[in-house]
Symmetry: C2
Subunit: 348 residues, 2 copies
Amino acid sequence: MKAAIFKGKKMIEVGQRPDPRIQDPTDAIVRVVRGCVCGSDLWYYRGINQHRVGSIGHEYIGVVEAVGDDVATLAVGDFVIAPFTYNDGTCPACQAGFQSNCEHGGAFGNGETDGGQGEKVRAPYADATLVKVPGAEAEFTDEQLASFTALSDVTCTGYHAAVSAGVRDGKTVAVVGDGAVGLSAVLAAKKLGAARIIALSRNPARQAVAKEFGATDIVEERGDDAVAVVLRLTDGAGVDAALECVGTDQSIATCAGIVRAGGMIGAVGVPLYEEFEYKTLFWKNVGIKGGVAPARQYIPELLEDVLAGRINPGLVFDHTTDLDHVADAYAAMDERRAIKSLLTIGRG
Amino acid sequence: MKAAIFKGKKMIEVGQRPDPRIQDPTDAIVRVVRGCVCGSDLWYYRGINQHRVGSIGHEYIGVVEAVGDDVATLAVGDFVIAPFTYNDGTCPACQAGFQSNCEHGGAFGNGETDGGQGEKVRAPYADATLVKVPGAEAEFTDEQLASFTALSDVTCTGYHAAVSAGVRDGKTVAVVGDGAVGLSAVLAAKKLGAARIIALSRNPARQAVAKEFGATDIVEERGDDAVAVVLRLTDGAGVDAALECVGTDQSIATCAGIVRAGGMIGAVGVPLYEEFEYKTLFWKNVGIKGGVAPARQYIPELLEDVLAGRINPGLVFDHTTDLDHVADAYAAMDERRAIKSLLTIGRG
């Protein structure tokens, strides 16, 4: 089958990988309909984080093409959304709703496991991992397909930031980071009832999506200047929740600077920070929670929102291409021509 | 007036300080009835943390002896509990319920401000700071006075650990630290409905108080061995909440090791850790929240519990002496002859 192959820094190519086959009776094989490029893929692409040579892409939706003998809830032809990590559904972490910490879980597209930037994927623990979409692929619009694809990771990751920070009705929230995750965090804060959502962004296209998603204020400043502006906007108090969607020392320092005494930081940016120390938060009674989003926990609820037309998370995709042009999908994001690139793989 | 004077490492003496007087119209002067020695005082005593030469002691209860012209809710003769920090009641932090982060607040007994280990204290922002006990000092038993004194800091600090970690009905909680704060955290977890409370302690006297306060399991191991035992007790899952009541690298590492994926660390031990990094928690989806307890937020609720006989937090005091013997009060804790020392100052 055709699949994107990560070969090293700035080297993504279209190549061949073996067609996946059922290996365990709990497996399903999924024909990919849409994949996409994650901000974390971009960090591999840029050489900031390491990635094995091989398969890549952990976000996808598709149609079940085969199931193992022990798969009970899925059948050939089912249209599914995959969370970016697979999970057994039975270990203590899964039972607690944190499937991304599954004892037997792992990530798609890690160089060895099949990636979402490819024609097919073997999905382990298919019953526990995949979420069935009610309806056939052909029944949905491109816009809906884009939103389903967003649920695979980025929407859930933004939601995890807001949930972890305890965002709820009436709260004042600031989102640090205007990438697809940050924008999704704006959407999440809106969904959870935040009264005021301050988005930090100096990019007009991203500001527009942030506003569409529910941002009430845009702050263009960065670093200490951003802290000063957010404090001014909140009468010196700071925000109830700061959503950290970048992962750098500057972004987490901004969060620490803008959150009120007793507030929370929801942290989902992959931690690249080296200087940040929790004890600086201790003295302000500020907490921090987040991590690798348990997308599998959130997808069903967010899928209902998409199907009901309450949210349109696929708006984070502003560049669409096909698998043959996967290198351009990366380059567009790398050059900041695109917020996030969608890959039309199985239909289009 | 007579007051304890901190003179340096292992040097606490009884000396003289000027009688406090009303300086601002929002002040009250309180004649101290009970004071006590805090674990953090002990760290000054041991030279681990620095403290100015002068007044010391931030926990006290007493009787109002004078009020400034702007004090509206308190009168001479009122019996009050002081939280260990004073606060204006009006700044954003106070309004958010985090009075320990008050913009105009400060600590009692910091070398310059009057301390609770002395005969009298000037309490700034008296209306906002002091909590009135319904009844005269003489109406209460020594046991109740001890519990009121515990509310000044240690009970609230333990409660803050549990509240910050989101402890509630049915949760499994572990408490790391068997000092007075740790024991108070056990009490707090019980009050909040925890189904299982695992106390880490190898000291029989402290184990006894932990059990009295609601501990269901005692773990005598430390470090990696403690982690192994707690994981075994929880079928490999870990606890929903780990309450960090020490502040060292070992204690916070133990918390990180025993908390389940997606769980919380409630951190109230004054941070002495140097190696701990938040990002190690990120990968387990574990959060951390805590800080300097907003005792003023919690005292009214906990006072009701004491008055109703539902809790007896004063059990953390197992050594009682008077102000003339304050040096022994410290030595008893330093030598681990006592969990926590109570000082009878104005009565008894």
